[in-house]
Symmetry: C2
Subunit: 245 residues, 2 copies
Amino acid sequence: MDKVSLDKHTSKQFDEDLEDVREHVLNMGGLVEQQVTNAVRALVEGDGELGEAVARGDFEVNRLEVEIDEECTRILARRQPQAGDLRLVTAIIKTITDLERIGDEAEKIGRLAAQLSSQVTPRGAFQQIELLGRHVRSMVNDALNAFARIDADVALSVSKEDQQVDREYESIMRECITFMMEDPRTIRQMLDVLWAVRALERIGDHATNIGEYVIYFVHGQDVRHTTLEAMEREVLAAKERRRPL
Amino acid sequence: MDKVSLDKHTSKQFDEDLEDVREHVLNMGGLVEQQVTNAVRALVEGDGELGEAVARGDFEVNRLEVEIDEECTRILARRQPQAGDLRLVTAIIKTITDLERIGDEAEKIGRLAAQLSSQVTPRGAFQQIELLGRHVRSMVNDALNAFARIDADVALSVSKEDQQVDREYESIMRECITFMMEDPRTIRQMLDVLWAVRALERIGDHATNIGEYVIYFVHGQDVRHTTLEAMEREVLAAKERRRPL
């Protein structure tokens, strides 16, 4: 009996550990989402102070990453998780790396917004940037929801959104290049705008990565480096395998 | 006796596992280094075919990442490593992520080189790009050496090189902007050059990350998100702690 109750206890404690770390990832994700939201607002509204606040705020994102990373290492050492639990922990280690890099991109956008706020910049592309920002933010949100609910379908939808985001990014790029060519005096500022837009596009990529870790965790199948179609096939096939006969 | 020899055997097998995975990381690193070298050559020499070959070659880098990742998960599940061994495995999981992203940047440079090879591009900045490429390549090489010899001093030197690389990157950026302003018809091509240079700068960042994982592994201290000075202090302090009295 002792053995069984010890096992139970160990397992319960382990469940609590996993629950804790998942909650911490979601907290970190919430902060990162807020940073992205504020960075885009600073950029679009030309709010330099908000941009600087975002840049300063990245410190907290980094702190959370190191903390959760250590938490995961402790779980690996103490609980020696197997199979699905092990996949969850390694998926978390990867997820927080991408969250931290989303934070870095938000910091970059914040700094660029602060720089641009003191200059006269052709604002024609900014409406499109707001739209792109909204899409990217919703990708991050969906990736975190997929993680929270461990839902491979939502995770898959993130990859689909990324294709739309890439198209919007290309369109803004073209518009910025047109501005530059029409008035070469704007080149310096427009390049700052371009870097910010590029950073947004990369945030979309990181959200896609997080979605792929969720799919890996759910199906035990690595879907990185495959096409969207192959990913869809994999999620479908895994569902078929699980369907009761 | 049985117990002891079993332990020994287990431990020996474990040593072999770790040795294998380290060797695989170094093989992957060698391939990535070659990709960077070829990408820079394709860009500087305007060799479109080589650029396309680099872009196609990224497939193999991705394959190796997935393979080593699975190897690490197997080691975690079977050997349940503790302390230093556990730190090594988590450092490897992070290292291959950065190696894979270096591969992505090389792929990007390869594609841009192929695009640029068919156009007349002002080549004034290309000598500087070659120099930057050489530095970045040597950073990747140093990061891999630090990993191979588990040498925190070499790892630290990578971070120092990154400061020089950032200065060179800024200088090329300025030169490209001057070209654009002088002849707005070159804007499109010069942007492609800028993206390629940006990709090189990011390769330097990833090499720095790898160096930081080595320092973490050697000293058990997370040095990410700290200044270079703090990192130096940490490496020195750890040495003092180890010095025999």
